[in-house]
C-alpha cells in the first residue's frame, strides 16, 4: 500500500495526489495498487466526515480527486485481462432527488470490488429501474436518496418492482441521508447501508452465496 498516496488523497492534496498516481503508473507500478490506495483514502475521508473533521464540500472534492485518479489508471487497467465480475448491481438516485455524492462513492467501491455496476444516475423514474432489471437480469438494486422526501420515492420504486412481478428475484438495498431500519421497513427494501462498504458487503453476501 502506498501510504503517501493514501495521505495525499485523504488530505485533499489534489495536485500532489494526481502527480504521485501518474508517477507510479509511469514507473510501471501496478494500477491495482493505486486503486487500493484510493479505496483506503476514501474510507479515511468517510471517517473524517463521520467525526466532523470534514464537511460536504470536502466529500465532493475527494470525489473529484478520485475521478482524476481513476482516469489516470483506467487505460492501464484495460490492458490487463478483465477480472471475472462477481455479479451485477443496478444503482440510482430515486425520482425527485439529485444528490449523488454518496451514490458515486458506492458505484466506485462496487466497481473496484469486482461488481458490474449499472449506474442509472439521478432522479431515476421507477420504470427505468424496472426496465434495467429486465434488460440486465441483475439481482441487486441499490436505491439512493438524500432527502426525506426521497423515502417516498424509494417506497414507490420498491412497490413498482413488486407490481412488475420482479420483487422475489432481486434484493434491494437503500442508502443515503438519514436511513435506518425504520426507513428500510417503510420502503420495503431488504437492507440498508450506512456507507459504501456496507453496500459492497451486502452485494457480496447476496451475489456470492
Amino acid at each position: 500500500m502506498n501510504e503517501e498516496l493514501v495521505a495525499k488523497i485523504s488530505d485533499l492534496q489534489e495536485e500532489d495526489a494526481l502527480r504521485l498516481a501518474g508517477n507510479i503508473i509511469k514507473q510501471g507500478g501496478d494500477p491495482n495498487d493505486v486503486l487500493a490506495a484510493a479505496r483506503k483514502a476514501m474510507e479515511e475521508v468517510g471517517q473524517r466526515f463521520a467525526v466532523g473533521d470534514y464537511f460536504i464540500p470536502d466529500l465532493i472534492y475527494s470525489g473529484t480527486i478520485l475521478k482524476g485518479i481513476v482516469s489516470i489508471i483506467k487505460p492501464h487497467l484495460k490492458q490487463e485481462e478483465a477480472p471475472k465480475k462477481k455479479g451485477a448491481v443496478i444503482i440510482g438516485t430515486v425520482a425527485g432527488d439529485v444528490h449523488d455524492i454518496g451514490k458515486d462513492i458506492v458505484v466506485f467501491m462496487l466497481d473496484c470490488n469486482g461488481f458490474e455496476v449499472f449506474d442509472l444516475g439521478i432522479d431515476v423514474p421507477k420504470q427505468v429501474f424496472i426496465d434495467k432489471i429486465i434488460e440486465t437480469n441483475a439481482k441487486v438494486v441499490g436505491l439512493s436518496g438524500f432527502l426525506t422526501l426521497a423515502f417516498e420515492a424509494m417506497k414507490e420504486t420498491v412497490d413498482a418492482i413488486k407490481e412488475a412481478g420482479l420483487r422475489d428475484e432481486i434484493k434491494i438495498m437503500i442508502g443515503g441521508g438519514q436511513i435506518d431500519e425504520k426507513i428500510m421497513n417503510y420502503t420495503g427494501a431488504d437492507a440498508y447501508g450506512n456507507d459504501a462498504l456496507d453496500a459492497v458487503n451486502l452485494a457480496r453476501d447476496w451475489l456470492m452465496q
Binding site: 466532523g52 465532493i60 425520482a95 444528490h99 439521478i122 422526501l149
Partner: protein, 216 residues
C-alpha cells in the same frame, strides 16, 4: 409557545398574536440532526411550567425531530419534510415542485439572512480551498441544479432578496424563478387549526417517523 428555526421565525413573526412566546434556534444546527434534536429537547424542557402546548416551527428536518417528547406539553409539528413544504403551503405543492424540477435550490428571506445556503458559504469555501478551487467545488455542489427559486411568501418587501437571488442564479448559471409561497400551514399552526397537516404528540409520548407518514 413556539420554538422555531430562525428561517421559519422570519415567516412566523408577521402572523403571531401578541403575547405568544417564540424562541428561535440557529439555522446552523441543521447540519447536524443530532445536535438539532438536542437543542430542541433542551428548549422544550426549559419551557415555563404554565405552558401546555409547544408548536415547533420545524418539519421532519432530516429526522431531527424524532425522539422529542415533553412530560407536560402537547407538541405540535407541521407534517412536512422540511421548511420548503411549509413555505409552499402543502406536501402536494412540495411534491409537485420536486418532481417537476428536482434540481432546484430554494431561497427565502430567512435562508438568505441566516446565511444557510451554499451561495453565502462562498467566502468560507474560498478561505478553505482558495478561490479557483472553491468555485470548482461550489460548481460541483450545484452541478445537478438547474433552477434557483425564490419563494415569495408575500409577507415583507422582497426586492433586496430577489436581487440577491437573481445575482446568485446568474453567477452560478442557474435559471432564476420567483414562485409564490403559501402561508396556510403557518397560519393554521399559530391559530390552533391543527388538522391532518400536523403531528400532535401528547404529553409523555415521543415523536416517531411514522407520525409523519401520510395516508395513501
Amino acid at each position: 409557545m413556539i420554538i422555531a428555526c430562525q428561517v421559519i421565525t422570519e415567516e412566523l413573526l408577521p402572523l403571531l398574536q401578541p403575547g405568544v412566546t417564540c424562541q428561535t434556534l440557529d439555522f446552523g444546527l441543521h447540519t447536524n440532526p443530532a445536535a438539532l434534536r438536542k437543542a430542541l429537547q433542551e428548549a422544550i424542557d426549559s419551557a415555563a411550567s404554565e405552558i401546555d402546548t409547544i408548536i415547533l416551527g420545524y418539519g421532519l428536518c432530516s429526522r431531527a425531530v424524532e425522539g422529542l417528547s415533553s412530560p407536560s406539553c402537547t407538541l405540535v409539528i407541521p407534517k412536512m419534510d422540511d421548511c420548503i413544504g411549509i413555505f409552499l403551503g402543502s406536501h402536494a405543492a412540495y411534491r409537485q415542485q420536486v418532481y417537476g424540477e428536482p434540481g432546484t435550490y430554494y431561497l427565502t428571506k430567512g435562508w438568505i439572512e441566516a446565511a444557510g445556503n451554499e451561495f453565502c458559504e462562498y467566502d468560507t469555501l474560498v478561505k478553505r480551498y482558495g478561490q479557483a478551487r472553491a468555485e470548482r467545488v461550489l460548481g460541483l455542489m450545484l452541478k445537478h441544479y438547474t433552477r434557483l427559486c425564490y419563494i415569495n411568501t408575500g409577507q415583507y418587501n422582497v426586492d433586496e432578496y430577489l436581487n440577491y437571488s437573481r445575482e446568485a442564479a446568474n453567477r452560478f448559471g442557474l435559471r432564476f424563478e420567483e414562485i409564490k409561497g403559501d402561508n396556510t400551514i403557518l397560519k393554521k399552526a399559530v391559530s390552533g387549526l391543527w388538522d391532518d397537516d400536523f403531528v400532535l404528540i401528547s404529553p409523555g409520548e415521543t415523536v416517531g417517523y411514522n407520525d409523519f407518514l401520510r395516508a395513501e
